[in-house]
C-alpha cells in the first residue's frame, strides 16, 4: 500500500519576532520546523504502512532549505521524500498551492505507485487556513475526510475506509471509498522516534527534487502569485488600545494586593459582582 503525506515546513511561528525598530519580520536564525499538525498525519500513515505493508512518501512544496525538514520525516521512518521546489511557486496562496501539490501527487502516483490515501495535517501554524487539504481533494477527485480522529477500519481489497470524524457536538462515523484525502486531528497519536538505523538511513538518503516541469505542470499561470486569487494588501502592527491599562502595583502583601485587585474588578464590572453573589448563594 502506497500512502502519500503532504507536509509543510515553516518558521517556528512561536519564535518569529518583529524587528523592534524597522517593524519587519525577523526570520534570521528562526529554525524551520515541520508543521506540528503534519506529524499526526505522518504517524497515522506510518502505522497503516506497518499494519498493511507498503511505503510512505512525504511531499512538501517549499524553498530548497525545506529539504532539512523533509529529511527529518525520513528519520521518523518515512520511506521516500519528494521536494517540490521552483521559483514559480513563490507567493502561492492556498489555491495555487493545492494546484501544485495536486500535480506532484499525480506524478508521485505515476512514478511510485497509486496512493489510495493522501494524508495532510489539520492546518498549518503559519497559515492556519486548513484549505490546502480540501483543495487537493477537490482537484484530484479524492473523497474528503477532515478532522479525522481515528481510522476505524480499512478494507483494502474492497477499497473501503471507515473513520471517526470530529463534528460539532459529537463524532461522525463515516464510511467511503478510496482514494481518499484525510486531514488528521491533532492529539490522535504521537509521532514515533525513529531508530538509529532510520536516522542513519535518513541522513544519507536522496531526496527526490522536482521543479514545476518535473512535476508535470504545464500551466505556470496557475502557480505562484499569478495563480493566487488572494493578495496581501498590507501588513501592519495591531493598534495599541487607546485607553491605557490601569496597572496596580504591590504595595504591601500579596494578600492586600489581591483584595485591591478584586475591589477594582467589582468597581469596573458591578455586573460581575452581582453574578458572583447569585452563584455563591446557589441560585
Amino acid at each position: 500500500m502506497h500512502i502519500a503525506v503532504c507536509m509543510k515546513q515553516g518558521p517556528d511561528s512561536a519564535q518569529i519576532r518583529v524587528h523592534p525598530v524597522t517593524n519587519t519580520i525577523m526570520r534570521q536564525g528562526v529554525p524551520t520546523i515541520i508543521n506540528p499538525y503534519d506529524l499526526f498525519a505522518l504517524e497515522e500513515a506510518l502505522r497503516l504502512r506497518d499494519k498493511f505493508g507498503g511505503t510512505v512518501t512525504v511531499l512538501t512544496m517549499g524553498p530548497p532549505m525545506a529539504e532539512d525538514s523533509l529529511r527529518k520525516t525520513l528519520t521518523f521512518g518515512a520511506d521516500r521524500a519528494v521536494l517540490l521546489t521552483d521559483r514559480f511557486f513563490a507567493g502561492s496562496d492556498t489555491l495555487a498551492t493545492s494546484f501544485a501539490l495536486s500535480a506532484a501527487l499525480e506524478k508521485i502516483a505515476t512514478e511510485f505507485g497509486e496512493t489510495p490515501i493522501v494524508f495532510t495535517g489539520k492546518q498549518t501554524i503559519d497559515g492556519d487556513t486548513a484549505q490546502v487539504g480540501p483543495g487537493i481533494a477537490k482537484r484530484l477527485n479524492l473523497n474528503q475526510l477532515t478532522y479525522v480522529s481515528r481510522i476505524v477500519e480499512l478494507d483494502l481489497p474492497a477499497g473501503q475506509i471507515t473513520v471517526e470524524r470530529r463534528a460539532e457536538g459529537g463524532v461522525q462515523l463515516l464510511s467511503t471509498k478510496m482514494p481518499v484525502l484525510i486531514t488528521m486531528l491533532e492529539g490522535t497519536n504521537e509521532i514515533r522516534r525513529g531508530s538509529l538505523a532510520d536516522a542513519y538511513r535518513a541522513a544519507s538518503a536522496k531526496i527526490v527534487t522536482w521543479n514545476a516541469a518535473d512535476a508535470g505542470i504545464a500551466d505556470l499561470t496557475k502557480c505562484g502569485l499569478r495563480g493566487s486569487p488572494t493578495i496581501v494588501k498590507k501588513v501592519f502592527a495591531p493598534q495599541a488600545r487607546a485607553e491605557k491599562a490601569k496597572i496596580l502595583s504591590i504595595e504591601g502583601s500579596y494578600g492586600e494586593a489581591a483584595t485591591a485587585l478584586m475591589q477594582e474588578i467589582f468597581t469596573r464590572q458591578p455586573a460581575v459582582e452581582a453574578d458572583l453573589m447569585r452563584f455563591a448563594s446557589g441560585s
Binding site: R17, H19, P20, V21, T22, M26, Q28, G29, P31, T75, R193, G194, S195, L196, A197, D198, A199, Y200, A203, S204
Partner: protein, 435 residues
C-alpha cells in the same frame, strides 16, 4: 544498530566536534557525528567572537560564505565600579586587513553554516540523538557508543568526546571527574537589536567594523567573573558570568547581575533604544590547566570544552575548541595512515601535539590564575577597581589641588587600601601566576 563501522564517531556538533569531524572527513575518514540537540548549535551559546586563525586552518576560505557579523578593530578593556570605569582601548586600522583576525558572530547562524560544511565533506550527522554510554570490548577498549534511539548502537575505531562543558558521557564513563562548581562559570547573555547606522554612530564605526568590550570590576559584586559587550551587524550581544561556586555562595543570580550591568551608566547609553529579543545561558569552563582531565585512552579522546580548554584570562574558548578538534582529527588520520590502532599508547601523540601548540602553552602559562583569583577575589573584583577608578578621578578632576598633592593622595589611598605589603604581595603573585 548501524551496520557500517566508522573510522571515528564524534559526540557533539559544536565548535570542537565540527572541527574534528571536518578535519577527518577531508583526510578521507568515514565519520559519524552524533548531536543531542535538535540541530547543530542548538545547545551552544557564546558571546561570540570568532578567531579567524583557528578557523582558517580548517576552512581556509571561510570568509567566502560564513555568516560573519563585524570584524573587530577595537578592543576595550574596562575596570568598572558603580559609577565609573577605567578603560584601556586599542583601536587600529591595521585590523582593517584583507583577512581580518577576529569577527563577532551569531552562533546560531554560524553553527548552521559550519555544520553544512561538515556534512558537505561527507560526514553523516544525526541530530536529536544522545549518546548515553561508551561501548567497550573485553579488554576495556572503547569500540563504539550507545545512543538513546531504538537499537541505537554504532561502532568505530575511535570515539571523540566533543560533548561540551557538562558532557555526561565522559563523566558517566568515569573518564572525567564530575565538573565542580569551582571550575565552571555560569554566564548569561542577551541580544539587543539596534539599526546598523545607530551602532556605527555610537561606536564610531564604518563599513563592517566592530568593537569588543571586556569588562570586570564591582559589576560582579565581589564574585569572580567578567562581562562583555560585542557589536554585531544589527544587534549588540551583552553578557556577564561568574564562577558557579560564587553564585552558590552569595545567592545572587546571573540575571540580576546582567540587569545591573545593563543599567550601569557606562553601558546603558550604549544599549539605549534597543530591544532585547533573545536570552541565553551557558556554562563556561574556568578551571584552566589544572582542571584538564585525562584527554585520551584506549579508543577515545576529548576535545573542546569537555577538556576544559578555555583560556580564562584572554576569554578564548572557541578557538581552543576548534584547534583541539583539528589536532585530534589530524592525529587520528595520521594513525590511520600508519595503520596504527587508536590505543592509549598511540594517542599520546594527541597530547604531544597539544603540548607543542599554543593551546597547552597558554593554558600552562596561566595555570595558577584561577587560584590567584579565587584567593584574591575581593581585591581583584572590588578593592582594586575602586582604587583605580578613584585614583583616575582624583587625577583628572581639576579642583585647585596641586598635582603633587594629588599624587600623594593616590599613593596613600592604595597603601591604606591594601598596605604596601599587600600591594607588593599581590603584584608578585600576579607576576608569578601570569608567567
Amino acid at each position: 544498530m548501524i551496520e557500517q563501522k566508522f573510522d571515528a564517531i564524534v559526540v557533539g556538533a559544536g565548535a570542537s566536534g565540527n572541527a574534528a569531524a571536518l578535519t577527518m572527513a577531508k583526510l578521507g575518514l568515514k565519520v559519524l557525528q552524533l548531536e543531542r540537540g535538535e540541530y547543530p548549535g542548538s545547545k551552544n551559546v557564546q558571546g561570540a567572537i570568532l578567531y579567524a586563525d583557528a578557523l582558517e586552518k580548517i576552512i581556509p576560505d571561510f570568509r567566502d560564505d560564513a555568516p560573519l557579523e563585524r570584524h573587530v578593530i577595537e578592543q576595550r578593556m574596562w575596570t568598572m565600579t558603580e559609577s565609573s570605569h577605567v578603560g584601556m582601548h586599542y583601536r587600529s586600522d591595521d585590523f582593517n586587513e584583507e583577512r581580518p583576525n577576529r569577527y563577532t558572530i551569531v552562533r546560531a547562524q554560524f553553527d548552521k553554516w559550519f555544520s553544512r560544511k561538515v556534512r558537505d565533506a561527507g560526514v553523516t550527522l544525526l541530530c536529536e540523538t544522545t549518546v548515553t554510554e561508551l561501548i567497550r570490548d573485553a579488554r576495556g577498549r572503547v569500540i563504539g557508543v550507545r545512543t538513546d534511539r531504538a537499537d541505537g548502537i554504532a561502532f568505530a575505531d575511535v570515539v571523540l568526546l566533543a560533548e561540551g562543558v557538562n558532557g555526561l558521557v565522559g563523566q558517566r564513563s568515569g573518564l572525567r571527574p564530575v565538573v565542580t562548581p569551582e571550575s565552571v562559570a555560569l554566564a548569561v547573555k542577551e541580544m539587543h537589536f539596534l539599526p546598523r547606522e545607530v551602532i556605527d554612530e555610537r561606536f564610531n564605526l564604518q563599513g563592517n567594523e566592530g568593537v569588543v568590550i571586556e569588562a570586570m570590576g564591582t559589576i560582579t559584586n565581589g564574585m569572580t567573573g567578567t562581562a562583555f559587550l560585542y557589536t554585531n551587524g544589527e544587534s549588540i550581544s551583552v553578557g556577564i558570568g561568574c564562577i558557579v561556586a560564587d553564585f552558590e555562595g552569595t545567592g545572587q543570580t546571573p540575571y540580576g547581575l546582567l540587569e545591573s550591568f545593563k543599567n550601569h551608566p557606562s553601558i546603558k547609553p550604549l544599549l539605549a533604544g534597543s530591544e532585547c529579543k533573545e536570552y541565553a545561558a551557558h556554562l563556561i569552563p574556568e578551571g584552566g590547566y589544572k582542571a584538564i582531565p585525562q584527554l585520551y585512552g584506549d579508543g577515545w579522546l576529548v576535545v573542546g570544552d569537555a577538556g576544559q580548554f578555555v583560556n580564562a584570562v584572554h576569554r578564548e574558548g572557541s578557538n581552543l575548541a576548534m584547534t583541539t578538534g583539528r589536532i585530534a582529527g589530524e592525529t587520528i588520520a595520521w594513525l590511520k595512515t600508519r595503520r596504527d590502532p587508536a590505543t592509549a599508547a598511540n594517542l599520546t601523540e594527541y597530547q604531544r601535539r597539544l603540548e607543542a601548540s599554543f593551546v597547552m602553552k597558554d593554558l600552562k602559562k596561566y595555570k595558577n590564575i584561577p587560584d590567584f583569583l579565587h584567593k584574591r577575589a575581593g581585591q581583584v573584583f572590588g578593592l582594586y577597581p575602586r582604587l583605580i577608578t578613584a585614583a583616575a578621578q582624583t587625577w583628572f578632576r581639576v579642583d585647585g589641588k596641586d598635582k603633587r598633592a594629588k599624587e600623594a593622595e593616590i599613593f596613600k589611598s592604595f597603601r591604606a587600601g591594601r598596605s604596601l605589603f599587600g600591594l607588593l604581595g599581590d603584584a608578585f603573585k600576579l607576576a608569578r601566576a601570569w608567567r
